[in-house]
Subunit: 237 residues, 2 copies
Amino acid sequence: MRSVPAHSPADALAGLMTLAGRSSTSEQAADAIRQHITDGRIRPGAQLREEALAAALGVSRNTIREAFRALSREGLVEHVLHRGVFVREVSVRDVEDIYRTRRLLEPPGLRAAAGRPAVIRALDEIVTGAETAAATGDWASVGTADIAFHRSLVDACDSLRLNRMFDQLFAELRLAFAVIDEARALHEPYVLRNRHMTTLLVGGAVDEACGELDRYLRDAERQILGALDGEQATSRP
Amino acid sequence: MRSVPAHSPADALAGLMTLAGRSSTSEQAADAIRQHITDGRIRPGAQLREEALAAALGVSRNTIREAFRALSREGLVEHVLHRGVFVREVSVRDVEDIYRTRRLLEPPGLRAAAGRPAVIRALDEIVTGAETAAATGDWASVGTADIAFHRSLVDACDSLRLNRMFDQLFAELRLAFAVIDEARALHEPYVLRNRHMTTLLVGGAVDEACGELDRYLRDAERQILGALDGEQATSRP
DNA sequence: GCATATTTGTCCGTATGTATA
DNA sequence: CTATACATACGGACAAATATG
């Protein structure tokens, strides 16, 4: 019933690449690695060794290195010259910047969403999904729904480039989530707040919804920073 | 007095990589290629051939391919499976999205800049530089100053991630500039408008400055779209 | 539509340099 | 300081896909 702990990143990836795509091998390798990182199967800070990964995925080291370059530009891994690539560890500074960016860009998204019934309906469905997931204790799904909710806000801006940036930003946020154990405490409070925001939107109370959004973002940042501090304290005594 | 036309991307790059850095060879190769693209020495649509580039830069094909993967993630080049990599050609759709994004994010930047004398001073210096460059007919520098001006606005938001996105966005914009011949018509009108914006900021008229910024962005978009249409008409008769 | 040449995609072996135990 | 493990980079090889005549 418990999740299987991976003994090494290579173990976690063994035999899990589906080679039947329409993309190049290095892109598929990147996809496989990316998936395992965002799923938390490879923890932040872990080193990705070329040889082990190449063996696990059944590809050459050159191919793996090409995948590394792409993932490095995405910000998921960090390339250290002559030392290798490591899964990014988001710092306190990163979290602060991420939430500064969210506080800057999500309110305009919410105001854009306010004028669109279709978007509001989508938000409602996402929150409903989060509520049922929370009822069954599926906190991973609750976290995914939370991200989907706020991604939808940004999506309402109709900016492809902004969406791309937020995809990366949320991927980094998942990296921060990954080092925090208590998934319930991390995600539970925000189901209610997203529901509240949606109700306000349905009622046309846009300003109040923005206020709620701002409080949400400040509280979430504080909580993650606190958890991050705790993690650092335990892992580096 | 005229710029030397490169016969091929490989010719343009020959012997121009400085190998004495603290970064990997593939990163230096990427830097060299990136520089030549943003400088307009390699035109949008041009294909970058692995073997030719490898020979020109004196590196192996594998190294070039690693550089390609990074540049591809940056959006400067496009990787087409089994066909190769090409310098990105920004489409009408791209330009529309770029300006939608700018109209969304630069006004908050301007409001943030309004409260900071240091930022306003920096903007003033940039415009002054643009004015002297315009006086000597150095339209390339005028264009660079224009981008620096608006980059400074975004910079005032203090968001690293937002800055990174705008760096990419402006790099794409340079790609659009590259296909337009009349550099003077492209950049001259905006020196005055940036000056006007700065004057308004110095006087504390933030709302008026925002209005001017919005008009700037709408006019610039219209002009680039018009020029892009003209280019497509002439290159594809 | 076909045969050919070119280019990319991928793999392998190897030599060199760097960081760390 | 030496030894080891690993990343870096090269060059050659071949298959597969694409472009060319």
